[in-house]
């Protein structure tokens, strides 16, 4: 099954981390089941070839990643102001291959209810399990934003000391790109930022690339990367045990509750944009 969704084909997707490419000069990658070769030339130019037909694909470097558009780009790579703020570390927490649909990964990222059970002792702990009502909206730019999301967290970040009430804002920019803004334990008015650039390898496989934009104050990069890897390592076995692997868009396939308000809107938004790759369409 290959991808026929125009909205995905005409968009930009991360296929490699520049750090890795600098080390190996050539990398193999897969996007929508098509094998690609990513090369770093003598002149530090990056090229991406499709193995099947040898065709060069349109590519760009941004945020330390190689981006590819397999179709005709109808919009640019999204702009993330936090990545240009000098008092932040801007770093990848690592690229994680996951044997499930990238859409499942987005939904897991938008979910607070699992914190006490999957990230026990870090992002949540029993008995503090309640997901308070929060706000969700579809913006004029056709993004999904969830605000006023509060959760009690024992160790919210590598710099946190003791439990705090954390406020999150979630934002879905594109079907496979999602971010969050999260309370920084040392600043009342600034938030730490994480964005996932998910590479759809196949309908049931993905690589989760990410960019962390964390305020430097009191933080160091190794701890930050370590924390992201710890949290993601806790999510991965859950994600790989979801059946079916593709995200079902039929409202009766699974059982949403109030806490899943943002996921309900995400699934509806995917239906409306006819995103079928990585999904089981509603019939």
């Amino acid at each position: 099954m290959s991808c026929h969704d125009r909205i995905l084909l005409d968009d930009w997707h991360v296929v490699a981390d520049m750090e890795q490419l600098r080390q190996s000069r050539v990398l193999s990658a897969t996007l929508f089941e098509a094998a690609l070769t990513v090369s770093l030339g003598e002149d530090d130019n990056v090229s991406v070839k499709r193995d099947r037909d040898g065709q060069d694909l349109t590519c760009q470097l941004k945020y330390g990643f190689v981006w590819v558009c397999p179709g005709t780009p109808t919009r640019d790579i999204l702009h993330i102001p936090e990545a240009f703020e000098e008092d932040r570390y801007v770093v990848s927490g690592g690229s994680f291959p996951v044997r499930t649909s990238g859409l499942r990964v987005v939904e897991n990222f938008l979910d607070m209810g699992h914190f006490p059970f999957v990230h026990t002792g870090w992002l949540g702990e029993e008995p503090f399990t309640e997901v308070q009502p929060y706000e969700v909206e579809l913006t004029d730019d056709d993004e999904i934003i969830a605000t006023e999301c509060y959760f009690h967290q024992p160790i919210a970040s590598p710099t946190a000391e003791g439990g705090i009430e954390v406020e999150y804002t979630y934002r879905v920019y594109r079907p496979y790109i999602v971010s969050l803004y999260k309370t920084n334990p040392h600043f009342d008015d600034r938030k730490d930022y994480i964005v996932l650039f998910i590479q759809p390898v196949g309908p049931e496989r993905c690589v989760v690339h990410n960019m962390l934009c964390y305020l430097k104050e009191g933080m160091n990069m190794p701890d930050l990367r370590w924390f992201m890897q710890l949290i993601f390592a806790q999510d991965k076995p859950i994600l790989e045990n979801q059946i079916p692997r593709r995200l079902p868009l039929d409202p009766r396939a699974e059982t949403p509750i109030r806490a899943d308000k943002v996921a309900i809107l995400y699934r509806r938004w995917l239906r409306e944009h006819q995103v079928n790759y990585g999904a089981i369409p509603a019939v």
């Binding site: 699992h114 059970f117 029993e126 008995p127 997901v131 859950i238 979801q242 009766r252 699974e254 806490a259």
Partner: protein, 574 residues
């Protein structure tokens, strides 16, 4: 269409695959199962998928009573597979329709058997006086090819194979030893051979026997797999996963069952548990009982036509029966007296499915239970649930005397958390309550059930001590308010676009029913909370004892069985 594949029983696990508190992942005809044994011995065979987000339940936690999903901590009850708790919404009782798919299961001959739609008994082992279950051997080949090849299975030259009606193969040697092999179709091209030997063997001999057959069957496996590899693999099965119930699609679920007595039960035990308190154990006449949650009550339809509400005292996972406690109330209209004097062990009763209008939060750091007399019953079920999860609580039980302490075995489980306060005067009770409630705290919750005056006193003391209304939960047995039904007013039904008049002498609930609107109800006297309905506009004349003062002041809900309007018109969210 149901085929033999669906109707047949197949072995899906060995009994030894289910050690205490384990969850085993099995598969039949392409469908995955989560298989787990509860502490009461019951073997559950469920769809291997949490209804919420599809996570495999085989990676969940078997706590001996319930299975807890790893992803969001949803709890599913032993036997019924109904959801008993959703941690993300601690104040809510999960909708009754959140129930996992279960499959028929039996345990026999050291094997666990299941079938998609199997009925009746598992195949009889004719001629097998004794038995030993052999090691299962999985292989990549279709079931029928495996069964065919098994006819040639041999451990000595005298062995002869014969096919049984249901597809298994019996191989018999001239010395009378025999092995019957059942083939479990994991999928269209994957099978497991599960053999049973017709003798019991001693420990040393057993190991030798298992090794020998394991070796021989692996040899057979290699031959069958080689044969299967020469053919095209059949298309894998595509098991259909049933959709969740329609009413779960939109988030708020309004149950639409009236005051019905859907269940028929037999009273299997009737015994005095304390002075003038009888406990009744009820078991289903057929099938299973629906899922209950701690704090739930049932309607009991008595032989004399009266309907009474009683709380369940069951602990989590106790799903093969319901237990209630009934106090003899000589001054009442005869419900309890009829149970005490006329109901016999062995009698059948009609009861409603359990309803939970007194849900238990499990997200508080510490929970305080305050029980007065027979009000102990719902609190027993709640404290047993917290106790099973290892959550912190204290249990205060106010009674006239030691003879009045009911359900001693159940409350004995609470050990150090239990305090029994006997023979206190109203003043002394007040002083004790003031002591219990001396330190209000947002992370603690209080649950109270008992006679009206004690309940009022507890609520008053809690409020004086600074407890917020949200942290104090209570359940009245009955509404002693003198009801006034003299007013007449209109109700607009926002969702049904109807306007109805409620005349003097009739309740909102009566009028709704007369107009074909099915509204759930239970006590019909403003105590239980079942007929609660949202109010969009209008001023409510509350006459119930279910809603808290804060909820009454907000005016967003009404108990349609007793409460009325102070304005000319109410707009209801129906």
């Amino acid at each position: 269409m149901t085929t033999d594949l669906q109707r047949n029983w197949y072995p899906i696990a060995s009994s030894t695959d289910l050690p205490k508190r384990h969850v085993y992942q099995a598969q039949l005809l392409g469908r995955e199962f989560a298989v787990w044994r509860a502490d009461d011995g019951y073997v559950n065979v469920w769809e291997n998928r949490c209804l919420h987000r599809g996570v495999r339940l085989s990676i969940g936690i078997n706590d001996g009573r319930e299975l807890k999903c790893q992803y969001h901590g949803w709890r599913y009850a032993n036997r019924t597979a109904g959801c008993t708790y959703i941690p993300a919404h601690p104040a809510d009782a999960p909708a009754r329709t959140i129930c996992n798919n279960t499959y028929p299961a039996q345990e026999a001959y050291g094997l666990v058997w299941a079938g998609e739609e199997a009925t009746g008994d598992v195949p009889a082992l004719d001629g097998f006086d004794d038995l030993t279950a052999l090691r299962p051997i999985p292989l990549i080949a279709p079931m029928n090819m495996v069964a065919e090849a098994l006819l040639e299975y041999k451990w000595d030259e005298s062995c002869k194979g014969a096919r049984n009606d249901e597809g298994s193969v019996t191989v018999t040697a001239s010395d009378g030893t025999a092995v019957r092999v059942f083939v479990q179709p994991l999928d269209s091209n994957h099978s497991v051979m599960r053999g049973i030997y017709n003798r019991a063997v001693s420990e040393d001999d057993r190991v030798a026997l298992l090794k020998r057959h394991s070796w021989l069957m692996q040899e057979l496996r290699d031959r069958i797999e080689a044969q299967a590899a020469t053919q095209d693999a059949p298309e894998p099965y595509h098991p259909v996963i049933a959709k969740v119930s329609e009413d779960l699609v939109d988030i708020p679920a309004i149950s639409e069952d009236g005051r019905t007595a859907d269940l028929r039960v037999t009273v299997t035990r009737k015994e005095m548990t304390a002075e003038s308190i009888v406990s009744l154990r009820m078991e289903p006449i057929k099938g299973t009982l629906p899922t209950f949650q701690p704090g739930a009550h049932i309607d009991v339809h008595l032989q004399n036509g009266l309907v009474r509400q009683y709380s369940l005292t069951n602990g989590p996972g106790e799903t093969d029966h319901f237990t209630i406690g009934v106090k003899r109330e000589p001054d009442s209209r005869g419900g309890s007296v009829s149970i005490h004097d006329n109901l016999q062990q062995g009698d059948n009763l009609a009861i409603s499915a359990p309803r939970n209008n007194f849900p238990l939060r499990r997200d508080s750091v510490h929970t305080i239970f305050v029980a007065g007399g027979i009000g102990v019953t719902p609190l027993i079920a709640m404290a047993r649930a917290l106790n099973a999860q290892g959550l912190s609580f204290e249990f205060h039980y106010f009674v006239q005397s030691d003879d009045h302490v009911a359900f001693k075995r159940e409350i004995g489980e609470f050990e150090g958390a239990l305090s029994i306060h006997t023979g206190l005067s109203p003043d002394a009770t007040g002083a004790k309550l003031a002591e219990i409630l001396s330190s209000p705290d947002n992370s603690r919750h209080v649950y109270i059930c008992g006679p009206g005056p004690m309940l009022e006193a507890t609520r008053e003391i809690a409020s004086e001590k600074g407890w917020s209304d949200d942290a104090v939960h209570f359940e009245y047995f009955k509404n002693t308010t003198e009801l006034d039904d003299s007013s007449s007013f209109d109700i607009d039904l926002a969702r049904s676009a109807m306007t109805l008049n409620v005349p003097a002498g009739k309740s909102i609930l009566d009028v709704l029913r007369e107009n074909g609107i099915n509204m759930s109800s239970s006590c019909e006297q403003g105590a239980c909370g079942t007929c609660r309905c949202g109010v969009i506009e209008g001023e409510v004349a509350h006459q119930d004892v279910y809603l808290s003062d804060t909820e009454k002041a907000e005016g967003k809900s009404i108990m349609t069985c007793v409460s009325r309007a102070n304005s000319d018109r109410l707009i209801l969210d129906i």
